[in-house]
């Protein structure tokens, strides 16, 4: 049933869901797969694994999936690599997809490389773009280390081509008229390699970064409590969220969930204000889809200025209070 479209290298998306709600990144990946598949007459399949998760299927079909491969078992109710990876490997061997996409979440980053190793194929982490060529090659763009470069990675000889993508890199789509089918597959569970004692739910603050229209972020140049209070105030008057770059996290000014950039969050606000951020590519890939980028930095040679729309060269302690007052004034008028 899953391999019934002979000779086509279809596109699959591993769907992550929590309590019956699919993760945003999974829906974004289905939308991207849909776009790529339509160009070459391929099908998009969503891999839905869990226990009592059938009711997630309609959302996945509306998000763009043609097939929902549904694998249900009480033992699969919580994610665990020792069951999930062999089950997906088994599916891959039967369905022979051209590519499988995973969200670059803690689970996706645990699972995708394991599946790739079992299938002896390539896995490309944290892609910021995916393109498909006529001959089925997946062009996976990743920021190349150290600098101002991007690399296009391919997996020329092995299938499937496995890629992980962070939340917010692609945009979700909605196809209310789209028809899809649910394919029930009974998972062949292998021997457990560990015992999952418990999953302790933590009500983590949902990160406001992803939904905020305005994001104010600080970097290595903001190095005092007073400085961060200024940024917080600016974010407040703009009804935006506060974030930061890698040095801000390393220096303890922000939490992990607030870090923007390649190893943190990818965001797409309408307005991004970067304060004291030098703007290396590893940071900028996290904000490349912001509509407008404003940079405030005292170093006129900082690369951020060529990667922004508007730049103010100056000490943020001087710039930000003027900006706060001007915004307040505009809001009153």
């Amino acid at each position: 049933m899953i391999g019934d479209i002979e000779g086509k290298e279809n596109l699959w998306v591993f769907v992550e869901q929590f309590k019956g709600v699919p993760k945003q990144v999974s829906l974004e990946l289905i939308a991207k797969a849909r776009m790529l598949a339509d160009r070459f007459g391929l099908r998009v399949a969503a891999l839905l694994i869990g226990d009592n998760v059938r009711n997630v299927s309609p959302v996945l079909i509306n998000a763009g999936a043609d097939d929902v491969f549904l694998l249900e078992d009480p033992l699969l109710s919580q994610y665990r690599s020792d069951f999930y990876a062999p089950v997906i490997l088994d599916l891959i061997r039967k369905g022979k997809p051209g590519a499988v996409f995973f969200g670059a979440t803690p689970i996706g980053r645990d699972l995708a490389p394991a599946v790739a190793a079992l299938a002896e194929t390539g896995c490309t982490a944290d892609c910021i773009d995916l393109e498909l060529t006529e001959n089925g090659a997946l062009l996976q763009t990743v920021p190349a280390f150290g600098g101002r470069m991007m690399a296009v990675i391919v997996t020329p000889e092995r299938r499937p081509q496995i890629a992980t993508v962070r939340l917010g890199v692609f945009q979700q789509a909605w196809f209310p008229e789209h028809n899809g089918r649910v394919v029930d597959i009974s998972p062949q569970l292998t021997q457990a390699k560990f015992d999952l004692v418990e999953f302790v739910e933590e009500s983590l603050q949902p990160s406001l970064l992803f939904s905020a229209r305005v994001v104010v972020a600080g970097g290595a140049g903001v190095d005092s409590r007073e400085g961060w209070e200024l940024l917080r105030e600016l974010a407040g008057v703009l009804q935006g969220a506060l974030g930061g770059s890698r040095p801000a996290l390393d220096n303890g000014w922000i939490r992990e969930s607030q870090m923007i950039g390649h190893s943190g969050s990818t965001i797409r606000p309408d307005l991004y204000i970067a304060v004291g951020i030098s703007g290396d590519v590893l940071h900028m890939v996290g904000v490349q889809d912001a509509k407008v980028i404003v940079a405030v930095n005292s170093d006129s040679r900082a690369p951020i200025f060529s990667n922004s729309d508007y730049g103010i060269i100056g000490d943020y302690r001087e710039v930000i209070p003027v900006l706060i007052n001007a915004v307040k004034k505009k809001q009153r008028s």
Binding site: K23, P106, L111, P113, A117, A125, G146, A151, S306, A326
Partner: protein
């Protein structure tokens, strides 16, 4: 308890601008100062603590050019018993899969009775976080990633806490297992002068692909399913307009720009 620790030597962050790419897409790293990937030190620290509590041995494995030797010396000074450097021209240009295959071969050969493999969750240079899970696949072992607490229980069972998106998992892991650890796990020790002197008697063994029975087709660039097809400079697509005038004028002008003014409404 026999623990293998995998460490990666990465270019020191201040040196990144000096790295260039060769025509085949691999990195030209010669002459660039290397450091032990920071979170890999946490993996080594945890292994040393486990040895302290349960006895056994700690062996460090790394893959890289001969310039990595001095950094393995540092791992020995921290307290590792043995160190192995997988170093061979055939290993050059390896992606995560070829790296994992080689490291797994090294561990199988030199520490066949291993109970645990520890590695840092991700490297600061490429940051894929893939080697832990892929090593486990080659070793036929269980794996966990993002571990922030490890306790060794009875019968060599480990209880591990790992971070997830909506909370954390508590897992009882049987040996053999591969665990990728985070910086929250512990605070790595700094070797004393005495430690450094004592480590001079310890040996670092270099392993070639032939010694690991890995043919060229399964090593390095050739044994890597992923290839770099193209490298390019990220295109500039921003206005890059520097605002001039008094601070008040500059801020006023900024707030007049359509993309900015629209957001204030």
């Amino acid at each position: 308890m026999h623990v293998a620790v995998c460490v990666k030597m990465v270019p020191a962050p201040g040196q990144w601008s000096r790295i260039v790419f060769r025509d085949d897409g691999s990195l030209q790293r010669e002459g660039i100062e290397l450091i032990i990937n920071p979170v890999d030190r946490n993996a080594l620290e945890e292994a040393l603590k486990i040895r302290q509590a349960r006895g056994g041995t700690v062996a460090v494995f790394s893959m890289g050019p001969p310039s990595c030797l001095e950094h393995l010396r540092e791992a020995l000074a921290m307290g590792a018993d043995r160190a192995f450097l997988l170093s061979d021209r055939n290993f050059a240009g390896a992606d995560t899969l070829a790296t994992s295959r080689a490291l797994a071969a090294g561990i199988k050969k030199e520490m066949p009775g291993f109970d645990l493999v520890l590695c840092g969750s991700a490297s600061i240079d490429s940051g894929t976080a893939q080697v832990g899970p892929q090593l486990a696949a080659y070793l036929g072992a269980a794996h966990l990633t993002e571990a922030f607490s490890i306790s060794v229980g009875e019968q060599n069972c480990f209880q591990v806490r790992t971070a997830g998106s909506h909370g954390y998992f508590v897992t009882d892991l049987r040996k053999p297992a591969v665990i990728s650890v985070t910086k929250q796990l512990n605070k790595p020790r700094i070797p004393t002068l005495f430690d450094i002197m004592a480590s001079c008697n310890k040996e670092i063994i270099i392993l070639s692909s032939a010694e690991l029975s890995l043919p060229k087709s399964e090593s390095g660039l050739e044994g890597s399913p992923t290839k770099v097809r193209e490298l390019f400079f990220s295109p500039a697509r921003r206005l890059a307009r520097i605002l001039e005038g008094s601070m008040e004028d500059r801020v006023e002008e900024l707030l007049r720009q359509p993309g900015v003014a629209g957001v204030l409404k």
